[in-house]
Symmetry: C2
Amino acid sequence: MIDPSADRAVFRQLADLLREQILSGALAPGQALPSETRLTQDYGVSRNTVRQAVAILRGEGLVTTDRPGGTRVRERPERVVIEIDSGTVEARMPTAEERRELDVPEGVPVLLVERDGRTEIYAGDRTVLRVSPGRGN
Amino acid sequence: MIDPSADRAVFRQLADLLREQILSGALAPGQALPSETRLTQDYGVSRNTVRQAVAILRGEGLVTTDRPGGTRVRERPERVVIEIDSGTVEARMPTAEERRELDVPEGVPVLLVERDGRTEIYAGDRTVLRVSPGRGN
DNA sequence: AGAGATTTGTCCGTATGTATT
DNA sequence: GAATACATACGGACAAATCTC
């Protein structure tokens, strides 16, 4: 499965393997990944390497981990639709503080909507913006 | 500066310190951060701890690091304005493949714009969506 | 209550590889 | 070649949170 002599770093290879299982559904949303210790044994790598691999998936928003529950495949949250008919939209990663306020895990960007002189911030994993045709102006 | 006995992890404290310097402009866009070895000496922590701190800032899109040039404060790229008058907009982190194709570094989300049955993908650090009032419908 | 097991978090040290200057 | 700087990988140790018995 993993080739230590390959060009691609071991922890990236492991992340690739786990990502495949998540995207294919072999690891379903809500399901727990094997523990770090278990992955260590299964793939014959050190725990630090396992942690690097899992960190990649966290950064991609594919999994969340809470202590000491473990790491689980993220479930796609319900989307809230926000209607927009004017303004600008940008996306970026939240600061740690914004993450707390919006209650979003790592690997989730935010949407910044500026309209009427105010900037609103929305959690990227719970929001879809619907651009409505301007109502007759 | 850093209190190893504090509640907050040392690498998070270091990330906080560096983030302050970036946001305050003490570390200007394009400017290089001190090398990992240097930070190790300045703050009396191990190199692994320094790397964890820098990884946080990368994840927030504040810095990029290329090997072996070092880590630099990201410059805000020119924004391309995309006009939109209908459709939906979402944001998420790109896969590694999408990152390559769009040529965006870590810590940069993508904007997904669906309109006319097609989904377009834009780099979050180079794109601002302008929602135009529907042109007289 | 308490003890113990499990799991992730944090931190350190060391070694080696790779790319650039 | 040498020096520098980041990347990868291993190992160990202890802490903190949660669950089970």
